[in-house]
C-alpha cells in the first residue's frame, strides 16, 4: 500500500524553480492499478520518478512517501538503493531499448541480481516460471537482445522488473513504442502480475487514456503539477467532478463518434508556465466555471469513498 502526503518536487533551472509537482496527496491500496493521466507538463513523470529516482535537476522540497507502513527516504539517493528493485521497481520508457546489447539476457539478469546481493541460481526456478507465464521460451536467457522482437523484449523487461515481487511497480509509458497487438499483451500482463500477487500496487503513467480505461482500477488526473481528481475508472468516465477531467474526457475521439454526429470540443488555451505559476488552482484560466475562490488552492478532498477532487465547485 502506498501513501503519498504533500509530495512537492521542483526542478532547478538558471531562471529559478520550476514547480513541477505541488503537494501531491493520495493513496494506492494493495492490488490497485492506478493510472496516472495528464497532458505534457502535468507532472506525472515527475511524480512517478520521484518515488524511485529523485535526482538532479529534480529537487525534493517536501512531503512523505510511505510504502507498506515504512517511510521511503526518497530524498536520499543512496538510502533509496535498498528499496529500489526490491520494493519499488520502475519500467522506464523505451526500456526495451535499454537492454545492454553486448550481454545475453541471462547474464544481464545475473549481474543485476548480484548487484543486489542475490544469487542467480536461487532465483532461476522462479524466473523460469515467470517466463512461462508470459509465453517466453527459456532459451531467451541465452539470447542477445538483438535476437528478440520488440514485444519479446518488452515482456522480458517486465519479467525482470517484477522478479523480486516489488510492492510498488511504476510503469512509465511502456506501450508507446509498441504495435497494437503487443500493446494489448503487455497491458494484460500487468493485470496478470497483479492478479498473481507478483506486484501489490501499480502506477501506470501514460498519455493514452484509453489504455487506462481498459486495465486501470482507478485514475489520477493531474494538471500543471497539481492533482485534479482521483476516482475509480468508471467514475472518471461517467461522473467526473473536476472541470478539467470532464473536458478532457469529453475531448477524446472514440470509435462510434463521427464529427458529423457529435462535434467534440477541446480545451482552449494552454497549460501555464510552471516557473511562476498562477496562484491557486492552476486550471482557472482555462476553466469555464472558475470563480473568485479559485485563487486559493483547493485541497484534494475526498467527496465520496475512493473519489477525491481538488475543486471548489465540486465540494
Amino acid at each position: 500500500m502506498l501513501q503519498v502526503e504533500n509530495l512537492t518536487v521542483y526542478y532547478k533551472t538558471i531562471r529559478g524553480y520550476v514547480r513541477a509537482l505541488e503537494g501531491a496527496t493520495f493513496t494506492i491500496a494493495d492490488g490497485e492499478i492506478m493510472g496516472l493521466a495528464g497532458e505534457s507538463g502535468c507532472g506525472k513523470t515527475t511524480l512517478g520518478h520521484s518515488l524511485i529516482y529523485l535526482r538532479p535537476p529534480m529537487n525534493y522540497i517536501g512531503g512523505r512517501v510511505v510504502l507498506d507502513g515504512q517511510e521511503l527516504p526518497i530524498w536520499d539517493m543512496e538510502k533509496m538503493q535498498e528499496f529500489r528493485y526490491r520494493h519499488v521497481s520502475l519500467i522506464p520508457q523505451y526500456a526495451m531499448n535499454a537492454l545492454n546489447p553486448t550481454r545475453k539476457i541471462g547474464r544481464m539478469i545475473a549481474e543485476l541480481l548480484e548487484s543486489r546481493g542475490m544469487n542467480y541460481d536461487e532465483v532461476l526456478p522462479e524466473l523460469k516460471r515467470r517466463l512461462d507465464l508470459v509465453q517466453l521460451s527459456h532459451d531467451v536467457l541465452k539470447m542477445y537482445p538483438i535476437e528478440l522482437s520488440g514485444g519479446m523484449k518488452q515482456r522480458t523487461v517486465m519479467v525482470v522488473s517484477t522478479l523480486l515481487n516489488p510492492s510498488l511497480l511504476i510503469a512509465d509509458e511502456i506501450t508507446s513504442a509498441l504495435d497494437v497487438s503487443t500493446q494489448k499483451a503487455v497491458c494484460e500482463m500487468l493485470v496478470e502480475f497483479r492478479d498473481r500477487g507478483f506486484v501489490k500496487s501499480t502506477i501506470i503513467i501514460t498519455h493514452d487514456i484509453s489504455i487506462l480505461y481498459q486495465i486501470a482500477d482507478s485514475i489520477l488526473v493531474m494538471y500543471a503539477g497539481q492533482l485534479s481528481e482521483k476516482a475509480p475508472t468508471e467514475t472518471i468516465f461517467q461522473d467526473a467532478r473536476h472541470p478539467y477531467t470532464r473536458m478532457l474526457i469529453g475531448s477524446l475521439p472514440k470509435v462510434g463518434v463521427r464529427y458529423q454526429e457529435e462535434r467534440l470540443l477541446g480545451i482552449p488555451g494552454s497549460p501555464p508556465q510552471l516557473l511562476n505559476p498562477p496562484e491557486g488552482c492552476r486550471f482557472r484560466d482555462r476553466c469555464p466555471v472558475a470563480f473568485d475562490r479559485c485563487t486559493e488552492v483547493p485541497p484534494f478532498r475526498e467527496i465520496s469513498p475512493g473519489h477525491s477532487v481538488a475543486c471548489w465547485r465540486a465540494f
Binding site: K12, T13, I14, P57
Partner: protein, 288 residues
C-alpha cells in the same frame, strides 16, 4: 511579451558566455596577442634583421628580449614575427575553412555521385602525409612568401573540416524543416545557404578556430625546418634560427623561449576558446 523572449534567449547566451571561464581566458589571451601584433612592430625600436647590438646579450633595458648571436634585437624580431604568424594563421585557417565548407555542404546535401567523388578527393588528401608534400613543394619553390605559405596550409588542412561538415549536413538534410522548404519550391542551392548553413553557424565557428590554430602550428613547423617564407620574420623562424645557432647550449634562453611560449599560448588559447564555445553552444554541457 513578444519582445521579452528573444532578449532572454540572447542574454542567456551572453550570460553563459561571460560565465565561462575557459572562454574568458582564451579570448583574453588571443586579444592580447592580436593587440600586440598590431602595435608591437611600432614598439620595436630596430629592424628585426639588422645587427644593432652586442652579440648574444641577455635581456636588458635597451634590448628587452636580449639579442641574438648576431646582435639582432630579439624583441623586434618577436614583434614582427607575431604579426606574421597570426596573419598566416588567419589566411591559412580561412582558406582551409572555406574549402571545407564548400566541399562538405555540397557533398552532404547532394549525395550521390558527386558526394562519392568529393569523398574520394577528401580521403586522398587526408591520407597524404601533408608535411612531406609541403616539404617537397616548398623545397622546389625558391622564393616563398607569406601568401604562398598560407595557401599551402589551407589547401592541405581542409579535409577533416569537410568530413565533419558533410556529416552535419547529412543530419540536417533530413530534418523536416528542410522538407518544408522543398515543398515551398525552394531550389537546392538556396536551401543549403538559407536553411542548412545558418543552423551550423556555431559549428562553423568552431571549425574556423581549430583551423586557425592548426595553421599557426603548421606554419611554425614549416618555419622551424626552414621552409617558411624566404623573406620576413615569423615566430617559427626565430625558433629555427635559435636552434640552428645552438641558443640553448650556449645558454641564450631569451632567444628561444618567448617565441616558443607565444606559439604555445596562441594555439592553447584557441583550443581553450573552442572548448568554451562548445559548452556555450551545447546546452547539455553547461554546468548548472
Amino acid at each position: 511579451m513578444a519582445q521579452e523572449q528573444p532578449k532572454k534567449v540572447r542574454s542567456e547566451f551572453i550570460y553563459f558566455a561571460w560565465r565561462n571561464v575557459k572562454l574568458r581566458i582564451g579570448v583574453s589571451v588571443l586579444l592580447a596577442f592580436v593587440l600586440f601584433s598590431i602595435i608591437g612592430p611600432f614598439l620595436a625600436k630596430y629592424d628585426p634583421l639588422e645587427y644593432v647590438g652586442p652579440a648574444g646579450a641577455p635581456p636588458s633595458r635597451e634590448y628587452w628580449f636580449g639579442t641574438t648571436t648576431f646582435g639582432q634585437d630579439v624583441f623586434s624580431q618577436f614583434a614582427h614575427g607575431t604579426r606574421s604568424t597570426l596573419i598566416v594563421g588567419l589566411l591559412g585557417g580561412s582558406l582551409g575553412t572555406l574549402i571545407g565548407i564548400l566541399v562538405g555542404l555540397i557533398s552532404g546535401y547532394r549525395g550521390g555521385l558527386l558526394d562519392e567523388f568529393l569523398n574520394m578527393i577528401t580521403n586522398i588528401i587526408l591520407i597524404i602525409p601533408t608535411l612531406a608534400v609541403l616539404i617537397i613543394i616548398a623545397a622546389y619553390l625558391s622564393v616563398r612568401g607569406i601568401l604562398t605559405e598560407s595557401v599551402f596550409i589551407g589547401l592541405t588542412a581542409w579535409p577533416w573540416a569537410a568530413r565533419a561538415i558533410r556529416a552535419q549536413t547529412f543530419s540536417l538534410r533530413v530534418r523536416e524543416f528542410v522538407d518544408l522548404a522543398r515543398m515551398t519550391g525552394r531550389s537546392s542551392l538556396r536551401i543549403v545557404l538559407t536553411e542548412i548553413a545558418p543552423n551550423m553557424m556555431s559549428y562553423l565557428l568552431l571549425v574556423f578556430i581549430l583551423q586557425f590554430g592548426g595553421a599557426v602550428l603548421n606554419a611554425a613547423t614549416l618555419d622551424f625546418i626552414g621552409l617558411g617564407p624566404t623573406k620576413g620574420m615569423s615566430l617559427g623562424l626565430i625558433m629555427n634560427n635559435a636552434v640552428l645557432w645552438a641558443a640553448l647550449q650556449l645558454g641564450m634562453w631569451w632567444w628561444l623561449l618567448p617565441s616558443g611560449a607565444a606559439i604555445a599560448a596562441i594555439v592553447g588559447a584557441l583550443y581553450i576558446t573552442n572548448v568554451g564555445l562548445d559548452e556555450i553552444f551545447n546546452p547539455k554541457l553547461r554546468e548548472m
